[in-house]
Symmetry: C2
Subunit: 322 residues, 2 copies
Amino acid sequence: MRIALDAMGGDRAPREQIRGALLAVREFEDLEVSLVGVAEVIEPELRLAGSHPRISVVPAGPAIAMEVAMTMLHNANADAVVSAGNTGAVMASAFFYVGRIRGIERPALALVLPYNAGRVLLIDVGANTDCRPSHLMQFAQMGSAYSEKVIGVRNPRVGLLNVGEEAGKGNELAAEAHERIKECGVNFIGNVEGTEVHKGIADVVVTDGFTGNIALKVGEGIADYLLLTLKGVIKSSPLFIGAALLLKPALKRALQRLQYEEYGGANLLGVNGVVVIAHGRSDAIAIKNALKVARQAAKSGLIETMRQSFARATEATQAAGT
Amino acid sequence: MRIALDAMGGDRAPREQIRGALLAVREFEDLEVSLVGVAEVIEPELRLAGSHPRISVVPAGPAIAMEVAMTMLHNANADAVVSAGNTGAVMASAFFYVGRIRGIERPALALVLPYNAGRVLLIDVGANTDCRPSHLMQFAQMGSAYSEKVIGVRNPRVGLLNVGEEAGKGNELAAEAHERIKECGVNFIGNVEGTEVHKGIADVVVTDGFTGNIALKVGEGIADYLLLTLKGVIKSSPLFIGAALLLKPALKRALQRLQYEEYGGANLLGVNGVVVIAHGRSDAIAIKNALKVARQAAKSGLIETMRQSFARATEATQAAGT
């Protein structure tokens, strides 16, 4: 199992990328990581951080590290790609060098949110700002395949993010997508409201990339806001400070599940290989978790399953059309 | 100052409506509340809760309380209406009995979010699921007028909820709305991402009713989730329980700002009178806060200001068209 890691992409590259790779190979014995990027920059940093027999360096100019990593995936010299580079640039480079799975109209970004009630896959969190109902239908199918193959959920419950529970609710896109998803072969449980996402009533929550991105970032903002507010309140009294010190590990545990470092990056589903996009601000822990997510997807056989099922769907459509 | 309160609308009506009205008239000496609904149900409850000279009962059948309240507003027998009834039904009844301000294409729901950094008006939180760029432009104008007249912000900063900071980002609607808002006479600061809403960088955040509703409810869900998670973690150790007891007032203060009871209801901006829609689950405190919001808007002269400015804009458009 080899993952090509774009060592140049992200606000804190290459240092945190290198440290994250080291954490990952120490945690997973079957994992090899190729650090793709400027060798003159990576190698001294790697020596400082402590090199490892399962970490190698693949030289590439700073502007083309992402492309080199994608080409490795395309040529089967890597089983997955991880990048914390600009999301739009990673997607464009994946489309160009890796290509789409036949039958997929639009690849989408899927993020696993680790709530107490279970892991919820939100798809699309930002790849497609304008969608048609057929796109959302395919997001439902891809999300369901991921939940089943990678997370291990049997017969995943798929919900549509919407402003009300009843069919027909929402904007035109959501109302039409509801009808399409109902008929597309996934275990559709209907609409899911914003207040319900974290409750684990659906294993997969489908939405367009505009709404999904706003939902994700508002959630992130509210979690940050609460943490900051809490800190401010605690500092207002010495009694509170004492209590907070005792409570700190508990507070930390409660909040860390909502922080991007723990998510491990979003899967770009629908391209012809495993591509994971980590947050631009990723630190070593976030990179390690992104490598973990990529490793799970690559091990699961998800891509082969999706290739087969979308090829069948495409053939059925073509047969019906003739 | 008289507010007509729909005493029959909401999950906990009429009891919490009556108790909320009592709290409000005790807090505001200039306030009279007309409880609109079934007299036989309201009067005994009111006697139990403690009647008040500035609270009266306006009899109306259970199915028409909302309509009677709207008619009072239309006939200037009330300065504002508050209802915790079904949002769609309240809006339909306001459109029919109160009507739109001339020049407004689509009334919108505006909610004041009381963050530490300042009060942020989010518009639209659910009235219009499908919008055109011109609608979002008018939301910007109405939101700006509200922020200035009711909240007292000078030259309010208006932002557009979007997935990136640069103009041109987002779905077609957001990209086009950006251009329209830039030219419409408000103090436009550009796009605001989901992570930024609570930071108070904009006094008014504009979005379509689908995205706004999802954003609001995801925020509500995440706050609930954090509170529950925290409670669970605290219970896991006696040491934590002790610390948490000390910290409870601080925790409560931090969280209550994110709870709907404190918001006081959403303003239906663009109809020809002050209409405030409270959360269906409203308790007495939430109803009191909704009455407070309605009182502020009615006192501010907002409706008259909006009538004049949209009439001028309509005349200018018509003059340009001839």
